[in-house]
């Protein structure tokens, strides 16, 4: 009987608890979402090569000593409800990062436009629709190898 009454009271309090969950949080200066998303999960030891291919067809290999900077490839953010690829320059990617796996096969990461503030760059796996944001500072030196310039943020 007591257990049933407690359950009833909890049930009754549920709407209030739910509405309390939507109340504002503590003041926060953070503007970036938390969590780690990886476009490429493999580390350097699982790869046989990484290259950069510009939209013009120009291609360059990422030096083996620098693979650890882009493998695994960690995203700053994953967009949960993205617009059409054209909004992010992913309908005509300006470059691709090609990862060759030791186990066989390749993984292409398409690189699109800069974000609104120039700190990030849109990217996605060639076979998926999910859009990610990568740190422009990470990609800048490798895209420069094939003549793709990422201007520093203003």
């Amino acid at each position: 009987m007591k257990l049933g009454a407690t359950a009833l009271v909890l049930l009754a309090l549920a709407p209030s608890a739910l509405s309390a969950c939507t109340s504002p949080s503590s003041p926060s200066s953070s503007v970036k979402g938390a969590g780690v998303d990886r476009l490429v999960a493999e580390g350097p030891s699982a790869l046989t090569g990484i290259s950069v291919v510009a939209a013009t067809g120009r291609e360059a290999a990422v030096p083996a000593g620098e693979w650890a900077r882009v493998a695994p490839l960690v995203a700053a953010r994953r967009l949960s409800r993205p617009e059409a690829p054209a909004a992010y320059g992913l309908d005509h990617p300006r470059a691709r990062l090609v990862y060759r796996r030791r186990a066989g096969g390749e993984l292409d990461v398409e690189v699109g436009a800069d974000s609104f503030d120039g700190h990030l760059v849109y990217a996605r796996r060639a076979t998926e629709a999910t859009v990610y944001l990568l740190a422009a500072d990470t990609l800048r030196p490798y895209l420069a190898l094939v003549g793709v310039a990422l201007p520093p943020p203003g």
């Binding site: 009271v9 009754a12 504002p24 953070s30 503007v31 609104f116």
Partner: protein
């Protein structure tokens, strides 16, 4: 038991259907300040607020909550929170290059706020409503505290507060140059605590400016050798000097650190000002028998137990030459008169015109320094005074960020009240209740 559960269920489901909210937080952080509420209600046409924030972050949730408070008060205000990473085209269209930028648009005008906080948003709303910034000229050259000085004795906070409220304070030096004259672009002239006397040419220039529909804020101080009376006397006010002491309403043991609780005027300068803290101030007097068109309002005065010690350097005790309280410490003069010529509404024809002079005088200057401007209602008094002088509508942006400390000045008067309640009334009530119970029991036994 069942009845109790039914009541709880009914209360909760009833509450879910209602959108009424009660803010029980100590600092009322989920409620807009009175200034912001007044601003929101004053918006007469559609105003849209767009905040650019990462919609997955807590800041976006806080922004939605804040902006919905404005919409609840006035449905002409609409708001949206846009994620600039998800919608970069919208961010580029509005030229937004930083997270947390808030874009407000109203009647074709646009103002950006740097953050989705109440103070920033309200400041931007005020800028939109006023449509522009007015220049206020702060007199320099006599040891006045600097508008850029961030030390406790400086005026940087006052300058920031003015800027947030669409006034741009600029220094005005009348001591040099071929002829001393107040520039036409000054919406008001602020004399914020001169330490040395003004030159004769400056006094003449300011007197001429005031006479021709000028606006003056004169912040006097008994610690200064400058005499403000040549500037304010033509407008029915006098600075008495001396040192105001208030044994009943002062902060701590310093009786010259006066807490002013009597703000008797209906003048907009007192609007929203509850109490003031005026340390080391002198008295102010409003003249009697004023000419037609001139009105003087006492804005703030001390308690009945206060007095002005005329020679504080020798004694601060009440003496035969002391001026008994209540003592005015701030006053405002408004003079409207008709001049024969000057009206230019009809091109080429100069007809009679109405000339309006406004002057505000305070007997202390420390109250608006960085060390004191956030004490009690000091900041609001400054904004109200400048707004009234510049003939802006009586609106101010939220005067400062919410303060987590809520000071209650423990004046001797208040301490006496606490003593009466805690030592007299509460124990007395307990003893009285005991006596009543005892008497009732005795009657029942009989």
């Amino acid at each position: 038991m069942v009845l109790g559960a039914a009541v709880v269920v009914a209360a909760n489901f009833g509450a879910v259907r209602s959108d009424r909210q009660i803010d029980l937080s100590a600092s009322r952080r989920f409620t807009l300040s009175p200034e912001s509420r007044a601003l929101a209600r004053a918006v007469p046409a559609p105003l849209h607020i767009t905040a650019f924030l990462n919609t997955g972050a807590p800041a976006a949730r806080d922004a939605r909550f804040l902006l919905s408070r404005y919409h609840e008060l006035n449905h002409r205000i609409t708001a949206s929170v846009i994620d600039p990473d998800t919608h970069p085209g919208e961010a580029r269209r509005l030229g937004v290059g930083h997270y947390a930028t808030v874009v407000l648009t109203y009647r074709g005008r646009r103002v950006d706020a740097p953050d989705a906080e109440e103070l920033e948003v309200s400041t931007a709303v005020l800028r939109l409503l006023r449509g522009g910034t007015k220049t206020v000229c702060a007199l320099t050259g006599h040891g006045e505290p600097d508008l850029a000085d961030t030390s406790p004795d400086g005026l940087s906070e006052a300058a920031t507060a003015l800027r947030r409220n669409t006034f741009e304070p600029v220094p005005l030096d009348l001591t040099t140059g071929p002829n001393a004259a107040v520039p036409a672009g000054c919406a008001a002239v602020l004399e914020l605590g001169a330490r040395q006397p003004l030159l004769t040419r400056e006094v003449e220039a300011l007197a001429a400016y005031a006479k021709s529909a000028g606006r003056l804020l004169v912040v006097a101080s008994p610690l200064s050798s400058a005499d403000p009376n040549p500037l304010v006397a033509p407008w029915g006010m006098h600075f008495l000097g001396g040192l105001v002491l208030d044994p009943a309403r002062s902060q701590g043991v310093d009786q010259s650190d006066v807490v002013v609780e009597d703000l008797p005027s209906v003048n907009p300068v007192d609007e929203g000002v509850g109490r003031l803290e005026f340390p080391a101030g002198g008295g102010v007097a409003a003249d009697r028998g004023l000419r037609d068109g001139l009105t003087v309002s006492v804005l703030a005065r001390t308690s009945d137990r206060s007095y002005v010690a005329p020679h504080p350097e020798t004694s601060i005790a009440f003496g035969p030459d002391s001026v008994p309280g209540p003592v005015a410490v701030a006053a405002a003069a408004d003079d409207s008169r008709v001049e024969a010529t000057g009206e230019q509404r009809v091109p080429g024809v100069s007809g009679p015109r109405v000339v309006r002079t406004r002057v505000v005088l305070t007997g202390a200057d420390t109250w608006l320094t960085n060390g004191f401007i956030d004490h009690l209602g000091n900041r609001r008094l400054l904004l109200n005074a400048v707004g009234w002088l510049a003939q802006e509508e009586p609106l101010v942006a939220a005067t400062s960020r919410p303060n987590l400390s809520r000071p209650l000045p423990l004046t001797p008067e208040r301490r006496a009240r606490i003593l009466v309640v805690t030592v007299g009334l509460v124990p007395g009530a307990i003893v009285g209740a005991g006596l009543v119970v005892a008497a009732l029991r005795r009657r029942a036994v009989r």
